[in-house]
């Protein structure tokens, strides 16, 4: 559902997120933003900048430093009619709230057969590559996609960011909304004013191609795009897919593309073992086995903790590593 609004404004990804929250705070009185430092400070990344000024302390609330507490409280609020949008300061600090998300946010609907529901959004900046101090750079989306009852989205562009955020806020179920920090201000794009949504569960074909399907999301989209561009120069035509939603993954778009190209490269910055890339691999296995001309290649972070920033770039997939993988599936 793209909007019919025509007025557009140039924004960074983080500005588009602010705009999405502002739009929904205006639109829906039940929406409320909460988290650490989201008030006067506007969040450590300024994602909630000026929102408290505009909407008051009742709508944009600083909470104590208490992730389990405020996510738990947000669940109670959601059950009682509000639409909380909670900010976790960095994904690496969500773990104290893991139980509240795992056992309650994601299960309450099924426990009560739909009697109680938890329409909350949990926003979290994530990923490496911005020289943040250690433990600020985790990309552990896989520990959330394995939680039945939770949706997980991750925009890579400003207009997707706004549209997915509004879709997440309107979703009747809990949504983890991951914000690739590296993309916060790395580029600008025209973003429609007012309310519009990007459908949860739909991938985006960033580029059409014939020889290889490259599947990625978040901060790896520009990395993969760079590799794809360089490969095109050598005559290899790549289809680039930005998943945008990590649960439920858009199976049809993947299958269609892989059945066309026969070759798949998956790129993500999380650790290889147990990464969401394996879900993509499983989709290829399940839908497109006979079309495969080569084994699926995965270009991922290593099975090590995300290293300190002085060598985080060594950890992160690079265009070169993506290119090797593309060459490998081509030459198989």
């Amino acid at each position: 559902m793209e909007s019919t609004a025509v007025k557009k404004k140039t924004m960074t990804l983080v500005q588009a997120i602010t705009d999405g929250m502002r739009t929904m705070l205006e639109e829906d009185d039940r929406v409320l933003v909460l988290g650490e430092d989201v008030g006067k400070n506007g969040g450590v990344f300024r994602a909630t900048d000026h929102l408290q000024e505009e909407f008051g302390e009742d709508r944009v609330m600083d909470t104590p430093l208490s992730e389990a507490g405020f996510i738990g409280a947000a669940i109670g609020m959601a059950v009682n009619g509000l639409r909380p949008v909670a900010e976790i300061q960095f994904l690496g600090f969500i773990y104290p709230a893991y139980e509240q998300i795992m056992t309650h946010a994601s299960r309450l609907r099924s426990r009560t057969m739909g009697h109680y529901t938890v329409p909350i959004v949990i926003r979290a900046p994530y990923g490496a590559g911005v020289r943040a101090p250690e433990i600020h750079s985790d990309s552990t989306e896989a520990i959330f996609t394995h939680m039945p009852g939770l949706k997980v989205v991750c925009p890579a562009s400003p207009s997707d960011a706004k549209g997915l955020l509004i879709a997440a806020i309107e979703d009747p179920d809990p949504v983890l909304y991951l914000e690739p920090m590296r993309c916060y201000r790395s580029s600008r794009e025209e973003v429609a004013e007012g309310k519009y949504t990007v459908e949860i569960g739909k991938a985006k074909k960033v580029q059409e191609g014939e020889d290889v399907t490259v599947i990625t999301w978040g901060a790896m989209v520009p990395v993969a795009a760079q590799a794809v561009k360089e490969m095109e120069a050598t005559g290899v035509s790549c289809e680039l897919i930005d998943l945008r939603t990590l649960y439920p993954i858009d199976r049809d778009t993947i299958a269609e593309s892989v059945q066309k190209t026969g070759r798949t490269v998956i790129v993500h910055e999380a650790h290889g073992t147990g990464g969401v890339g394996n879900d993509v691999l499983a989709i290829v296995n399940d839908t497109s086995f006979l079309y495969q001309k080569a084994p699926v290649e995965r270009v991922t972070g290593f099975d090590s903790p995300v290293p300190f920033f002085s060598f985080e770039d060594e950890y992160l997939p690079t265009p070169a590593r993506v290119k090797y993988a593309i060459e490998k599936v081509i030459k198989f």
Binding site: G69, G72, G76, V79, Q100, S110, Y116, Y247
Partner: protein, 361 residues
């Protein structure tokens, strides 16, 4: 600290009213109502154990000994308030209006057990210890934001006070002045772990000091004291004065659950002694007798009524339609994802003996 938090008592163990001023509250009508409720939930609880022993329900968590805490606190609620029970608080949820049948269904492994009657704000039982406290804070906060006078009450045990969520819940409630009552039933044990291994303090009420929140200890076997203190706390909540921590000092007579053997870790004679000396039901019976309000026939009638109601609920539970496996798939999200749709289809095909491999991909 124990001296700073004396245990409030209205009716002593012999059934005597402690202070003259209480007499206005301790009416015949209220006393009889309490008695009825106490008998009712005790009857239910004993049935729960016996159903489990007969294999007619699954593991069951009994509350016998704690009836006054549950009845007294639940009776203090107004109809639109919120209740966040733990697994041991179905005495309270029953009293607040939960359906007996559904409570039995819960213990028989049925999701329907998590659903309260229409219009009743009762959360499903908190299973992971203390996690329900933040929920109650959030729900209470939402009431405050709506401008209502509704409050929330949340139940938890002595062991629960060791969890981070206990602390985070109380701290947030105190910061937000959330209209919530933290109702602790200190029954002396967390499964096998006695209070003195759970915490260094002799009281739980004093933990309220960490939040500049009122904390009060009450005799959890005295239904009047529990009722009065809960009412007071709810009044504070409704009038914007914020949360309260209540410690109801009580005892569980029996096992932690039907899967537990308390003789492994404690002398059950203590339970027997308490049953004689400090039983919450006996205390009201003694009060009724002391006041000349007791009537053997009426009491028999109360018990019969309770047995009847419980038996009817058991019958309803047992004639309840079998589980529908659709429910595994249909309530995960408002709209099932393709994974769930497909898994459901495959499940039913496999069930019918249609090999899954016959399907198109």
């Amino acid at each position: 600290m124990e001296n700073d938090f004396p245990i409030k008592m209205w009716i002593d163990e012999n059934g005597n009213v402690q202070e003259k001023e209480y007499k206005e509250v301790v009416t015949e009508k209220l006393t009889r109502t309490f008695y009825q409720q106490l008998i009712r939930i005790r009857t239910f609880d004993r049935k729960g154990i016996s159903l489990q022993r007969q294999g007619r329900i699954g593991t069951y968590a009994p509350f016998e000994g704690q009836e006054a805490s549950q009845v007294g606190s639940a009776m203090a609620l107004e109809t639109n308030d919120w209740m966040f029970p733990s697994y041991r608080d179905h005495g309270a949820t029953m009293t607040f209006g939960h359906s007996l049948k559904n409570i039995l269904l819960f213990w028989n492994g049925r999701n329907e057990g998590c659903i309260p009657p229409e219009g009743k704000n009762i959360f499903p039982p908190g299973i992971p210890i203390a996690t329900q406290l933040p929920h109650a804070v959030g729900a209470a906060f939402a009431e405050k934001r709506k401008g209502s006078k509704n409050a929330a009450i949340v139940y938890f045990g002595d062991g629960a006070t060791s969890e981070g969520d206990f602390h985070e819940g109380l701290n947030m409630a105190s910061v937000f002045d959330a209209p919530v009552v933290f109702f602790n039933q200190n029954n002396g044990y967390a499964i096998s772990v006695p209070m003195e291994k759970q915490m260094n303090t002799k009281t739980i009420a004093q933990k309220a000091l960490a939040y500049d929140m009122p904390g009060v200890r009450v005799d959890g076997n005295d239904v009047f004291a529990v009722y009065a203190e809960t009412l007071k706390a709810l009044d504070r909540a409704r009038s914007g004065e914020g949360p309260t921590l209540i410690e109801a000092v009580t005892w569980r007579y029996g096992a932690h659950t039907t899967a537990d053997d308390p003789t492994k870790y404690r002398d059950q004679l203590e339970s027997e002694r308490r049953r004689e000396e400090a039983d919450p039901v006996l205390r009201v019976e003694r009060l009724l007798k002391n006041q000349g309000w007791f009537d053997e026939q009426w009491a028999e009638e109360v018990k019969k009524q309770a047995a009847h109601e419980v038996d009817a609920a058991v019958a309803e539970m047992e004639s309840f339609p079998p589980v529908d496996p659709n429910d595994i798939f249909d309530h995960v999200f408002a709209e099932p994802t393709w994974q769930l749709q497909e898994q459901k289809q495959q499940y039913f095909q496999a069930k019918k003996g249609v090999p899954v491999w016959n399907q198109q991909q």
